[in-house]
């Protein structure tokens, strides 16, 4: 997997683009999208359990990193928001999940691959474009990030506000 900074910046970029395109609430939900972007990594604590306590629940945790499992977790997490915000919260959590899955699908197959068709198949798919330790995803997402930040700072100097 790429680093979390790549996922979170990607979530911020998408939220900012939604804000610019007229969805005024999108900036408030950038943090929600950011949480969604790391939700599929809920499998990682299970790796730690195996490493440090010898408790092997890796197979049990696998669905959390699959599209169907991650969207279900996003659905569960959206119930932690007020009832009238469930749909919007789920939407932004899902944006984050999709960002995560897109980045992970680009990884080299030697690193594993995505169980896209789970629970119907355990076949793993990947595009094999980057290694998980590559700095390339961060560099790629930095381009729209810098452009959007520049637009925002420029806008804030004339209208007030600004920052992330």
């Amino acid at each position: 997997m790429p680093d979390w900074l790549t996922y979170v910046l990607s979530a911020w970029v998408v939220s900012e683009v939604l804000f610019i395109s007229g969805r005024r609430y999108a900036r408030r939900y950038a943090g929600v999208a950011a949480i969604g972007s790391v939700l599929p990594d809920l499998v990682k604590p299970f790796y730690l359990l195996k490493t440090y306590l010898g408790l092997d629940l890796i197979g049990f945790s696998v669905p959390l990193a699959t599209p169907v499992g991650a969207f279900l977790v996003a659905g569960l997490a959206s119930t932690l928001f007020p009832r009238r915000r469930w749909t919007r919260a789920f939407g932004f959590l899902s944006i984050g999940v999709i960002i995560h899955l897109i980045w992970d699908s680009m990884l080299h197959p030697l690193g594993g691959g995505q169980l896209i068709l789970f629970p119907f198949s355990f076949k793993q798919y990947s595009l094999g474009l980057i290694w998980s330790d590559s700095i390339l995803p961060l560099l790629i997402v930095s381009v729209p990030f810098v452009i959007l930040m520049a637009l925002r700072v420029t806008g804030s100097s004339t209208h007030g506000g600004g920052g992330l």
């Binding site: 943090g31 950011a34 195996k50 490493t51 092997d56 197979g59 169907v68």
Partner: protein, 149 residues
Amino acid sequence: MNRVLVEAIILSFIISLCLYSHVEYGKRHSSIPDVDKDPGRYENVSFRSEGTVTNISAGPTTNFTFVTMGDRIDAAYSGAERLEEGDYAIVYGVLHPLSGYLEVTKMHVYADIRRLYALSLLGLGLLLWLFLRNWRFSFSELVWRERDA
């Protein structure tokens, strides 16, 4: 619909998938302890994992101990990748448990695993800041509310 009911339904779906995976994933993927328990069954079976390289001894082939999630296996590698003690790597190869080793055929050594961890910590900090500046937890209602609501 009632919040608790919605949560119970979604949670039951998640747990069902996890239980299904626990049974089915185990049939398709094996850990090093599985290999140690029944070496004959895993002879010439392919193996892929991520972990740390240690106890390196260089020669015509590079021999090392591969440590993954607390489990260890002796490995032999004859490729071009140069290894250093403590390297974090993805290995792919063929198991020879009857001879007591993993024959590594493909390998990718991480440039710097600490950089990945450092950037992830930075990402975690940014995530918390982005979220907590707009949302606060209401302990009376057990929901996240907008700060300006």
